[in-house]
């Protein structure tokens, strides 16, 4: 009875889902702390997918067996002079920020949540509001170690074992388990951001503004997908730069690298699925758009609300109800503005959109399986309900027709042909996966669905 590890092992299957809460499956989740434990787990488990903090949206890190990296979260080194950080893959970005910000460094690339692991950042090759300037997470990596399915560890970088590196960045964990990563940080003088918000009346204007302000390091737009007519695509463009010491007020100068105070609230329960309808969404969008009274707003804010506005509400995904939601994120080439208009029209006609959609312009990216490529990317949430997937299949056609593609990290439903058509180097990716994961034992619901590991 008492502190007894030998009592009968209960059924270890537990219910897991990623951020969209769709799909939710039973999975046998194993954890490890040490490299030798991981090697043994990888050899002994028939088939599995590595899993971080579950902040991808769909089924990329779901499988009936998962190996969680969350307890594998140690900092290995931090060169405070050069800004080089080295850690195990289960460390989350929020933990890294707490260590590096007070020393005058920042994450070179960060997505809209800090609750992701470094392993997840690599598997999804995440991008941030500065993609057009700094590229994606993989562009910041000095080198990393990947443990292969047979338990062997291989070091790779953009020069060393280049193929493994290319297929691991953005490869959704299919090549192996990232163990150690060394990456470059960005020097900052303060933890504040000089922010500029500009209201755009419509899509035309926001696209023009993106171009006008492309010299800004950080840029993103929140766009109202439900608005029709002359305000079709009305948006708020949000721009930012790390504040220099000289730009701070006297109080801020006292402690320029101060960490933001933790003010988090938790979304307490799943909202019923009828709570989100086109009326509530329109009302929300109206309020969001109207809160900025003036055309342009300039202020200085802590990095937290600038980069991670939604992290302030823990479990905000519960707002979409128990059935969950899918996030739809695609990228279209710069010349395909018409495609963006078509897709937004379909969404506003259908009245299915989410609170807000995020629009951003990517810069060029040279990689085989990472999502970003030069052009417009739009991300928006759809609560799962009847007819949604047919509707999204229709959007996929438009995306492909204009030479775009979807983000695997958000995906829970695309058809394999959509993947194949969107990623011209997919065969090369599959070949590298086969080279390093020859038996295909590292696989997920997604990789099977997209025929990346199952033929």
């Amino acid at each position: 009875m008492i502190d007894d590890p030998n009592a009968k092992a209960t059924d270890m299957k537990k219910q897991i889902a990623n951020w969209g809460n769709y799909p939710a499956i039973e999975s046998d989740e194993k954890t490890f702390v040490f490299d030798d434990q991981l090697a043994k787990l990888m050899k002994d488990t028939d088939s599995f997918i590595p899993r971080g903090n579950g902040r991808c949206y769909g089924d990329a890190s779901l499988a009936s067996n998962t190996i969680s990296i969350l307890k594998y979260d140690k900092i290995l080194s931090f060169d405070e002079g050069k800004g080089i950080f080295e850690c195990q893959s289960g460390l989350t970005l929020d933990q890294i920020l707490e260590v590096i910000v007070p020393k005058g460094w920042f994450l070179p690339v960060t997505p809209g949540t800090k609750f992701i692991t470094v392993g997840g950042a690599i598997g999804s090759d995440v991008h941030g509001k500065n993609h057009h300037v700094d590229g994606s997470f993989s562009n910041q990596i000095v080198d990393m170690d990947v443990m292969l399915a047979n338990g062997e560890t291989v070091t790779c970088s953009s020069e060393l074992n280049h193929d493994l590196f290319e297929a691991t960045c953005g490869g959704m964990g299919l090549t192996g388990m990232v163990t150690r990563t060394k990456f470059r940080l960005k020097k900052i003088e303060s933890s504040y951001i000089i922010q500029k918000q500009i209201k755009a009346e419509n899509l035309e204007e926001v696209i023009r503004l993106f171009d006008e302000y492309k010299h800004y390091t950080y840029s993103v737009a929140w766009i109202d997908c439900l608005k029709k007519g002359k305000n079709f695509g009305r948006s708020i463009l949000i721009l930012g730069e790390h504040a220099k010491l000289s730009q701070l007020n006297d109080k801020q100068k006292m402690d320029p690298l101060q960490l933001p105070r933790k003010k988090q609230i938790t979304f307490p329960f799943n909202l019923p699925s009828w709570a989100l309808n086109s009326f509530t969404v329109k009302a929300f969008n109206f309020l969001y758009y109207s809160k900025n009274r003036k055309k342009e707003l300039n202020n200085i804010v802590s990095y937290e609300p600038f980069f991670y506005p939604l992290d302030a509400i823990l479990h905000w995904n519960r707002g979409y109800g128990k059935k969950g939601f899918v996030q739809y994120q695609f990228v279209l080439p710069l010349h395909a503005k018409q495609g963006l208009i078509e897709i937004l029209q379909k969404i506003s006609n259908k009245g299915l959109g989410s609170f807000l959609a995020v629009l951003k312009v990517f810069g060029p990216q040279d990689s085989i399986i990472s999502f970003p490529k030069e052009g417009y990317t739009l991300a928006l949430d759809f609560p799962v309900r009847e007819g949604l997937f047919d509707f999204l299949d229709g959007l996929d056609k438009v995306v492909l027709q204009y030479g775009g593609r979807l983000y695997m990290s958000k995906d829970a439903r695309m058809k394999p042909e959509v993947m194949t058509a969107g990623y011209p180097e997919l065969d090369q990716f599959k070949a590298i996966v086969r080279k390093y994961n020859p038996t295909g034992k590292i696989r997920s619901l997604q990789s099977d669905r997209l025929l990346l590991t199952k033929n």
């Binding site: 008492i2 007894d4 590890p5 030998n6 702390v33 140690k74 290995l76 195990q88």
Partner: protein
């Protein structure tokens, strides 16, 4: 800055204790059999908390090496926390004396061997703190914890005796008796919430006990009462029970 020696630094409880002390700016000496396993924890503690953290090879079962191990530590730790222990399958242990022997050595003999050395040093310095992670399983002999429980019982008795012996030398000894803890050891079990502590809670209890010179700490308050009841069941009744 005071230094804490953690013996058996690879367990979840030990890592949580290391983190707790480091966050209060104590320097750390982490000791474990497999030094490669604790190196990442060492660098992590150093970077996060800006403290000195060294790692040391230490095998609880290599009694003859304990003296050299302790002598090699510089500086000498101000606090020594003995976390290692071993729980094997009791049926296997009953069948195979090798297993029984290993469990007794890891939970009792090895601990006594190294703590005697630390105690002697503290006695000579007229200061120091020793904390031992024992177990509620050592409170009363039961069939389901035959060997583990008896070895922990011996360890608990040792810690109590040591506390008695060292008091007049200004050296304090803490006995820690965690109940259920969510660890690698128990991750496959369904444990009752009220009775189960997180390693971080054990660490908080150990830290407070060391600072406030408490004698015996149970991590979850209910355990003190549960064990009081268990200890007071008359033996003629207890021997018939299936615990």
């Amino acid at each position: 800055m005071p230094t804490v020696l953690i013996l058996g630094a690879t367990s979840d409880i030990a890592m949580a204790i290391a983190k707790k002390f480091a966050s209060h700016q104590y320097n750390l000496q982490l000791a474990a059999r497999n030094i490669n396993q604790i190196k990442p924890l060492g660098s992590d503690m150093h970077v996060r908390y800006n403290i000195q953290c060294t790692v040391h090879s230490f095998d609880a079962l290599e009694f003859s090496a304990h003296k050299n191990f302790f002598e090699s530590l510089t500086p000498k730790p101000d606090i020594t926390i003995c976390v290692f222990g071993l729980m094997e399958n009791e049926d296997k242990a009953f069948d195979d004396f090798e297993v029984t022997h290993r469990m007794i050595d890891a939970n009792y003999t090895g601990a006594v061997s190294i703590l005697n050395i630390a105690a002697k040093y503290y006695l000579s310095q007229k200061q120091g703190v020793i904390a031992g992670i024992s177990s509620v399983a050592g409170e009363r002999g039961r069939q389901s914890k035959l060997i583990y429980g008896s070895a922990k019982a011996a360890f608990s008795a040792y810690l109590a005796g040591l506390r008695n012996k060292l008091l007049k030398y200004n050296v304090h000894v803490v006995s820690v008796k965690p109940g259920f803890v969510y660890t690698k050891m128990t991750e496959e079990l369904k444990l009752p919430k009220l009775l189960t502590a997180y390693p971080s809670e054990v660490a908080v209890a150990v830290f407070a006990a060391v600072r406030k010179k408490k004698n015996t700490v149970y991590v979850k308050w209910v355990w003190r009462w549960i064990m009081l009841i268990i200890k007071n069941i008359p033996e003629f009744q207890f021997k018939k029970m299936n615990l």
